[in-house]
Symmetry: C3
Subunit: 312 residues, 3 copies
Amino acid sequence: MKHYLTINDLPSIKTAIQEAIALKSDPYNYKNLGAQKTLVMLFFNASLRTRLSTEKAAKHLGMEVIILNVTDAWQLEFDSGAVMNLNKSEHVKEAAQVISQYADVLAVRAFPNLKDKHKDASEWILTSFVKYATIPVVNMESATSHPLQALADAMTIEELKTKKRPKVVLSWAPHPKALPHAVANSFIEMMQSIDVDFSITHPEGYDLDPNIVKETPVSYLQEEALKTADFIYVKNWSNYNAYGENTSQCSSWMMTKGKLGSATFMHCLPVRRNVVVECSVLDSEQSAVIKQSNNRTYAAQLVLKKILENEE
Amino acid sequence: MKHYLTINDLPSIKTAIQEAIALKSDPYNYKNLGAQKTLVMLFFNASLRTRLSTEKAAKHLGMEVIILNVTDAWQLEFDSGAVMNLNKSEHVKEAAQVISQYADVLAVRAFPNLKDKHKDASEWILTSFVKYATIPVVNMESATSHPLQALADAMTIEELKTKKRPKVVLSWAPHPKALPHAVANSFIEMMQSIDVDFSITHPEGYDLDPNIVKETPVSYLQEEALKTADFIYVKNWSNYNAYGENTSQCSSWMMTKGKLGSATFMHCLPVRRNVVVECSVLDSEQSAVIKQSNNRTYAAQLVLKKILENEE
Amino acid sequence: MKHYLTINDLPSIKTAIQEAIALKSDPYNYKNLGAQKTLVMLFFNASLRTRLSTEKAAKHLGMEVIILNVTDAWQLEFDSGAVMNLNKSEHVKEAAQVISQYADVLAVRAFPNLKDKHKDASEWILTSFVKYATIPVVNMESATSHPLQALADAMTIEELKTKKRPKVVLSWAPHPKALPHAVANSFIEMMQSIDVDFSITHPEGYDLDPNIVKETPVSYLQEEALKTADFIYVKNWSNYNAYGENTSQCSSWMMTKGKLGSATFMHCLPVRRNVVVECSVLDSEQSAVIKQSNNRTYAAQLVLKKILENEE
């Protein structure tokens, strides 16, 4: 594997899930694989889980880790041909090449601005690093995808499922802020790639990118959609059509104990209690959110391992 | 030892002081004890000594260290049952459980707001982490105590004392800002636990929490109180009764060469020169402040060692 | 070598260049030299290359690295005898001594304010750390010099030169912000120390400190000065006489393909594209900027190695 930008970069998704689960039982099994290799983690946005789990994963493999918040350096210019006489001190062309001198793998987190659909869809930040860096790039959540999260989510379903083909529903939830589509997108792509009975439910008008959703069934009737679900993945996203707008905060879409039934509750975190989901759900045995966050370590480790092995 | 929240969590304070001093002469003696263990240090407030000394201590034990400034992530909600529709992105319930997946020990620094005496006394931040984390928690200075500092201070007195039972005086000092009571509280508790002749002097009205001070003699006459002292620990704290107010900045309480006499000067640092203490005191051979800061490493190392040994 | 404050601290500049180039071919050759030694890197200003390359260098030598942004702690007081009743929480006297307890080497980055020529020239920040720290200090760019950059630059010229005594020209460039003189100063001193045909070209009035420039030829006619150059080092600096003012942004001084001719283009980065230099220069094979940034690692490693060896 060269880069990890979307889940489709995995040589085999099903094998990756199994291998990531196997890493969990013996995290230090490949502790020399990353010896004398450096992971640089570049953050344009805040992070808790991604930061800690990815650093942990790299250490399990014996890598050195250097973390750079973009605020520790300066603003980068991404436009090719720009006359840089304003507030951007360095072009990504140089920054990416320079970091490539100091690192063996570069992980980048860069959220969308949710103002310009076309620009966000172009993944201008992530693809600039891929273009100019001379080392493998790992997506720690970009404008449109969060493939480390999706791999951790698939591991969690694989570990908890009690039937061969569980029913999985992605259910939209209200949120006070306009959030990206990345987590939903990657979760959908992952569910389309594994053996589950998958559907999506959200309020009318909240349809996601049709190039992602494809043939996946979509319902505007939440309670009906959730019936007999084995796993319910709850997530807010802002309006994709009225791009980046927060057109609905309808609290009737909040996940409750009643709607959950006997299903397993999933969420990528951070989660707004009593807005996205009732406390009683999160605090119950049916919540898988802590297991999901734990699996982030092994998802990242699987990805770094594949990249390091490819380089050998 | 499970957690280290106050000095009373030490199995034996006197033994701990001796063991910490012993670590100093051979810091890498237990360099494999923390192998494949991770310390996450979580900072809600600025730090120089605590950050560096605790990281150093963990490295001496072979631990991995991950530092997270809360500003690198997002604001946490602490109220149980809150409807999280404002500016707090994640509840400490999730954050503490999640970090527990990535760490073996969690160290937390969180100062009081000094607005609400009852809330500060409840130690709501630290106790939330203790409640929800599933790993040991170390107090790197909380609303009401700073037990790593107190252990380093006790080591310093033990190393420098020239008589079996030295006279130690805690002397209030003026300061331009309203400061917490944590350092004073933990120092008092520590002095009450070891074999010293201990008393406190401060201006009238600056009495500390009576549940901490207990039977310790208190004088409002500084010069009298300091007479024949072997160690004078100088520290500002804001008014405890007029809670969090800075009612006095009376410069007559500044420590001077004259008042110090032949005593050893102690302070936790950072210190305001010529406000809290005269330059001539800090720059003299009688100042123990650098030794105190050095002992912070071995105090933290003793604490981490006890926690790691307990976990084995 | 005790400290590394300017290039003149190197026991032999020519030998240092050769040794640094040798480190590059086997970076981990001295991987145990820094075992159980800690480098603390203290940043008063933003950094990308310096931060990453110096951390990498230390890791190559087996050192532990602790990074402290001054914003993670608090503002330091530098004035001796100050009454610290304002916004400075700690004096550099204490801070430097305290950090010396936790580190074996201290690296400091502190830019000038460009307001007070005399104060900047005094190198008050760097020299305060040298004065009060009890461990070796490395200059990661100070008010008036950037000796790690100059060593990397000399390595780059040594690696790329095709004649015994190449012609090297330092050419001023326009920039929207007022920049320090540090890079130019150290480059000049380095060129004066090695076997090159060196000259400087800049607009009239942009003369640098005569104590640095000394006998080096200076021309106000850029195109004439650049003729037959083998290496052209392009760099903006603010006015030294009208101290810290940005009196000219004359775009005619921008480096172009035409002016470059067949010379190698050098710049310390970050660089403003199409302001300091045309895109076509940076994107050509004649640009050495990425090699320069790579050499920063081995320049820092040579310096740390010399310091560690001295300590043994």
